[in-house]
């Protein structure tokens, strides 16, 4: 699945996400920002936040920062990182943290799926339960997902 489609799926299922961007090596792969300049500023801001979080994490003994949530009175910022790729999202105040992380991880995982594994276009096909993690093209969220 390409990044734009993964992002479209994310914003469809997650009502908590306000803005989101998928970045690779600092480059914007997909974003909800319509203005390119705004997307670029957001990406640069995320890079600064992650760099500072890396610094603080190392000082605290965290070896490899995988994800973060910065909660402020205006809302929260979430970042999930896998290798050179990361997804960053903003939410309103007091989000359901586990659910947002789940949605972001699922979105990033679906982008990472190799194109060769993508099934033929069949919009009516539902993802089978028990499929490969991150490889499922589309999956309906259930309440049970929130626990992850």
């Amino acid at each position: 699945m390409d990044a734009a489609q993964a992002l479209a799926d994310l914003t469809e299922i997650s009502s908590q996400v306000v803005n989101v961007a998928i970045l690779e090596d600092g480059e914007v792969l997909a974003t909800t920002f319509e203005d390119a300049g705004e997307a670029s500023r957001f990406a640069e801001g995320v890079a600064r936040l992650v760099a500072e979080a890396d610094r603080v994490g190392e000082a605290r003994g965290l070896l490899a920062l995988a994800q973060l949530e910065a909660a402020t009175l205006e809302g929260s910022v979430f970042v999930v990182r896998r290798g050179s790729r990361l997804i960053a999202a903003t939410t309103r105040p007091d989000p359901t943290v586990g659910l947002v992380f789940y949605d972001l991880k699922h979105c990033l995982g679906s982008v990472e799926a190799p194109a060769a594994e993508q099934p033929a276009a069949d919009a009516s096909a539902e993802a089978e339960p028990g499929g490969k993690p991150g490889g499922a093209p589309r999956r309906r969220r259930t309440k049970a997902d929130a626990s992850g």
């Binding site: 803005n19 920002f33 300049g37 705004e38 670029s40 500023r41 957001f42 990406a43 640069e44 801001g45 995320v46 600064r48 936040l49 500072e52 979080a53 603080v56 994490g57 000082a59 605290r60 003994g61 965290l62 070896l63 490899a64 920062l65 995988a66 994800q67 973060l68 949530e69 910065a70 909660a71 402020t72 009175l73 205006e74 809302g75 929260s76 910022v77 960053a88 903003t90 105040p93 007091d94």
Partner: protein, 74 residues
């Protein structure tokens, strides 16, 4: 007795809500370890303004041109 229990419950809910409203940054590592940085610490003072800027994209500074150093003060 019932009034006391209700009071305790209300107090617990109030404290929990206040706790949730506090600004903080939670960092999670690959190995499952986690660090929570509460507001008022030097570390949070570095992280929270960066997060606030992302929440109001209009306030973000313009990206530095290629080859230019990052914004001063970072």
């Amino acid at each position: 007795m019932l009034v006391s229990l209700a009071g305790l419950a209300a107090s617990a809910v109030y404290r929990r809500r206040r706790e949730r409203r506090r600004e903080r940054v939670d960092l999670y590592a690959d190995d499952g370890s986690m660090a929570s940085i509460a507001e008022g610490t030097a570390e949070a003072d570095g992280l929270l303004p960066l997060a606030r800027a992302l929440l109001s994209p209009g306030s973000l500074p313009s990206p530095a041109p290629a080859g230019a150093p990052a914004a001063a003060g970072d």
